[in-house]
Amino acid sequence: MTALGGLRITTASIEREFTDGATAIVRGALAGGCNFFAGYPITPASPILMMMLRDLPARGGIGMQGEDEMASIGMCIGAAMSGARAMTATAGPGISLYSENIGLALIGEVPLVIVDVQRLGPSTGAATTTAQGDIQFVRWGTAGGFPIIALCPSTIAECYTLTMKAFDLAERFRCPVFLMADKELALTMRTVDPADYEDAVVRERPVIDPEDLDPPAEYRYEPPGEVVPMQLYGGKHPVRFTGSTHDQHAYITKQPEIVGPLNQHLISKIDDHLDEIALVDTDLEDGANTLLAGYGVTAGSVREAVAAARAEGTKVSSITIQSLWPIPERQIRDAASDVDRVVMAELNPGLYKRELERVLPDKEIVSIARTDGVLISPSQLLEVIE
């Protein structure tokens, strides 16, 4: 039995938190200026809904429980066009129901943060079991194939920082930004050092009246990729919005010479600014022949495996991918430049491995993939480090 004896601390030198990722996401959203939230109850995302609905009204914001997922994201889109910084949170089954409205937010250039607390699928799957099976789903989950942004925190502190970052990127690029969490990260309580919560810079929202744009317009696609400030309902002049292919005044058209630049703009505004979005955390060691790669909850296993390997004198490098979409290709290539092998750890059938195979065609890609609801352990990773 441990006796305290003379070990008492009289000055309270250490104060830490016992908290979870869902709480950190809520705090990050509030710090990021979120003033509108709508969601529908779903395990394991419900704690975010409950916390937002409790917290927002007292801060002058609005929190709604929609009648379903379509209503929840629909309210967010309407609110965003009326001045809100909006967020919603769900799990994979809810992303299915968001799908069509994600496309609407894309074409209408609506800033919106969508939290996906991933659980094991397909379908209802296992509601209280963690997984990372939605990472390709959010990328390709709406009609058209246009790019989206997806961030993926790997610690509770990162849940806070990257939620703020998601709000910033949503404003910067006027688009939906996904925050890819999972049940393990969102609901497992952990000790957190408050000093680890880093604030991300969240830019102010520039707003312009359509009449002040030269020439007056709601939208502009040229030069492609240049993002026009938001135009909100209730200003000096009417504002038009449409989810159909449209001209610069949001009138429906299918003329190729108008639709072409519109859609190219939606691609260019993301693809031409990859380095503004790319986020990775690398831990490289000279002489290492293996790069362990993880994201979200598997990045934690990677960190512990790296520490254990190095303690045994084995050289190993690692990368945590914090921006899953667009793929931080340059950063991944840089991290892998000196190794022959990359080990991708993920809780899905190997969904990011195929991206690495494309980005790193000359490297051996080893997939550590689990779909049984069990975490990938550091010892499982150590087995593949030579």
Binding site: M70, M75, G78
Partner: protein
């Protein structure tokens, strides 16, 4: 539309463009009535947001100089709700067809129940006019459409009654031929709460052709269905956006953060795993939480991973607590150092843990369960041997207290400090004392 132009107080909110609708379509006259209503209300274009659904009615917003939102099929009410919540000062008017009414039925119901201050204008022509004239939720029984070639078998939706009995502030049924339509639309828009106007009109492309349907048949159908026209429901329930703002401002403790100060500096050489396996509703998680926060009082790091089925107060509840001298990046447990089995539900989940444990580890098991087969040391605890009664839901805490005291996985004093905190502190400490006093064998 017969209102003389000189009586109109405001400029038109129509653009100069002609409507794109088929000859004889009823949508144009209804939109003219909407324009007249907005003029009567002296609304400027930027004070109005027209939210259009999908289908022929979805083209409507483009013929107004107001703000506009053209979104997805059936979801127009949801966008309108978001707009109204943020900007209660704007007049938000949804224009949808009977198709959008059907696919968005849940939104219509919820908007009525909330009494959100938007106005919904249903251009109800009993079929899907843009996609081929298929039957909709308002197609009356017996009528012919390409998807009901032998006559419709489904009863038509009574839109006005549906929203009316569910809280709508205003509900009106009429036709595109009504001379007072503009006045009724103005009434709806001026209503603070949710206003529904179900306006029946003719789809000359399909429904008229397929059913020899016309103006007289609209009236006859309404009568045959036993449906009335006019303003059918009114309520003075408070409007939602205003009521929400009135209620807002209350402080609610929501965030799941427990701040823990280290009050002792105790050396810990390696990571320890403490697992409690019991039943949902048996306060397993809160008992495990005390171990985790006690570890933080020692200056250590902890993690608590809970596993439970989707049900709430039935089935298993297993909490895995990791105690570590440094930050925990991987929250999985392969082998518990201490396992506390509180109930049969927990026993059912303990198999893999028991199989992984070594003679260095300890299992505390409630006495009424069979002795587990494991390499670990097994200690049996009988909560019925207590001087004070330990309820089933309190067994987890009592047994965890005994396990902490016996195993020394965290300093017992710090565990007691954690247990004694908060509103349940006194009760918790009684249970801790009762647990520690239990005979163990």
């Amino acid at each position: 539309m017969s209102t003389p132009i000189e009586l109109l107080p405001n400029p038109s909110l129509r653009t100069e463009a002609d409507y794109p609708f088929c000859p004889g379509c009823g949508h144009g006259p209804v939109l003219d009535a909407l324009n007249e209503a907005l003029m009567k209300l002296q609304l400027a274009p930027q004070e109005v947001v027209i939210v259009s659904d999908i289908g022929c009615s979805g083209l409507s917003d483009q013929y107004f100089t107001t703000s506009a939102f053209h979104g997805l099929h059936g979801r127009s009410i949801t966008y309108a709700t978001g707009i109204k919540l943020m900007r209660p000062d704007l007049a938000v008017v949804v224009i949808m067809g009977d198709g959008g009414t059907g696919i968005g039925g849940a939104h219509m119901l919820s908007a009525a129940r909330r009494n959100i201050g938007i106005t919904v204008l249903v251009l109800n022509n009993f079929n899907f006019g843009m996609t081929g004239g298929q039957h909709s939720t308002t197609t009356p029984e017996g009528f012919l459409t390409p998807t009901t070639p032998s006559g419709n078998l489904e009863a038509p939706l009574d839109i006005c009654a549906t929203v009316g009995v569910n809280g709508a502030a205003y509900s009106y049924r009429g036709t595109s031929f009504d001379h007072d339509l503009a006045d009724r639309i103005a009434e709806g828009v001026a209503t603070e709460g949710f206003a529904m106007l179900d306006v029946w009109d003719l789809c000359t492309a399909y429904f008229v052709r397929n059913n020899q349907f016309g103006r007289r048949q609209i009236d006859a159908t309404m009568e045959a269905l036993g449906l009335e026209s006019g303003v059918l429901y009114r309520s003075d329930k408070p409007e939602f956006a205003a009521a929400y703002r009135k209620l807002a401002g209350g402080q609610h403790e929501g965030l799941r953060v427990k701040r823990v100060k280290a009050t002792a500096a105790v050396r810990l050489d390696k990571r320890m795993h403490f697992v409690v396996a019991g039943s949902a509703g048996g306060r397993v998680r809160s008992a495990a939480r005390l171990v985790a926060t006690a570890a933080m009082r020692a200056g250590w790091w902890s993690a608590q991973r809970d596993d439970y089925p989707i049900t709430v107060k039935s089935g298993h509840s297993v909490s895995e607590v990791i105690i570590s001298p440094g930050e925990i990046h991987y929250s999985g447990i392969e082998r518990p150092n201490v396992l506390v089995v509180v109930s049969e539900d927990g026993y059912g989940k303990a198999g893999p843990y028991l199989a992984s444990m070594t003679p260095d580890d300890t299992v505390f098991v409630v006495a009424d369960l069979p002795r587990p087969d494991t390499a670990a040391e097994v200690i049996t605890i009988d909560p019925n041997q207590s001087d004070v009664r330990i309820a089933k839901a309190a067994r987890a805490l009592a047994m965890v207290a005994k396990a902490v005291q016996t195993s020394g996985v965290v300093p017992f004093e710090l565990f007691e400090e954690s247990a004694g905190e908060g509103g349940f502190g006194e009760k918790n400490l009684e249970l801790v004392a009762a647990g520690v006093g239990l005979p163990a064998g």
